[in-house]
Symmetry: C2
Subunit: 201 residues, 2 copies
């Protein structure tokens, strides 16, 4: 090799190409951009990553990200609704849609559909505690419409049946813009089962 092949640069390309959606080519492009913008990008990115590594953790109570040196939002206020999601990405999507403005509970995954695997990292018991301790009036189950997501929703429903909290889950049916011709049987079944009266106004 007659280009210098600085080891740190090679390492950087390797790490970046492991990130989702990126490969060796796009990683190289990113590394060049970083090197060509030392102060504005490379330095900023380095410092911000270090900051996140040092100071951002997941709250053990609600699963959300929090700063190590401040209390999580889940401890601070009274709230009436909790939206239960599988992971942070799901929360971000719901949040950026603006459809829901309440509090979240991030499970950190789903229960396995089969009993074989144990999933002790899930924040299930802390959800029950949050509901009991606070004046929560509604738990909205926003887990995915997969077998695992629905298994988890059922489990939560079951665990909360003794409390007086209202439990709801996201409606299933036709997605907006969905054509009947291309719908799968499961969605079609849900759409028929959950059909509602036509509003006449």
């Amino acid at each position: 090799m007659t280009s210098n092949n600085v080891k740190a640069v090679d390492d950087l390309v390797k790490i970046i190409s492991k990130l989702p959606g990126l490969g060796p080519k796009s990683a190289k492009r990113i590394v060049l951009k970083l090197i060509n913008n030392r102060e504005e990008l490379l330095k900023n990115l380095t410092n911000t990553l270090a900051e996140v590594y040092k100071n951002v953790v997941r709250c053990k109570n609600c699963g959300n990200l929090k700063s190590t040196n401040s209390n999580c939002i889940c401890a601070s206020k009274k709230y009436e609704q909790i939206c239960v999601v599988e992971n942070i990405a799901d929360m971000w999507v719901i949040e950026s849609s603006g459809v829901y403005k309440g509090h979240y509970h991030i499970l950190g995954g789903t229960l396995p559909a089969l009993e074989s695997k144990k999933n002790d990292g899930l924040l299930l018991s802390s959800l029950i505690n949050r509901v009991k301790k606070n004046s929560v009036k509604e738990v909205i189950l926003a887990t995915s419409a997969t077998i695992e997501g629905q298994t988890t929703a059922h489990y939560i429903q079951d665990s909360l049946k003794d409390s007086k909290v209202k439990i709801s889950k996201l409606a299933q049916g036709l997605p907006v813009g969905g054509e009947i011709e291309f719908l799968d049987d499961g969605t079609l079944f849900s759409a028929f089962k959950n059909r509602g009266p036509v509003s006449t106004d």
Copy 2:
């Protein structure tokens, strides 16, 4: 906002979404991947970026990347060929193709086609020095086939005309897989002008 919106995480998403090929959505996906792989990815990436920021600079002689605490490859050995490219990305492409294994000179851009702009960041005089000082026998001009790239190549050719070095430039013609029907006039003109005898073996 009722998700915690940790500032460092928001900042990280913003910076990453500025990188080439990435937007807010892919940046969020990358940030989540990093947070979910603290030690393996987040820490490694942070340290490697810091290392690159601290220890990787561009050599002022040949334009290549080098480690601050070691000599650049351009100072160390005798070499007979120099391939002149516009930027590091071009060098990486040539290098990974395996077509050329010699030394490089990275200009850091091109001369402007019009005289109006000055481009004093270009490593042009150091190229002349390298050719004079070393026993270089061939300078391969591998600048782009754009107006600016060709202007730069002409300028270098002109600057080196007093030295005895052989100057060559990349062939122009049909790209491999190129269909005549879709070729532009310029490429077609080059392909005709540079036509060669058919080998009969």
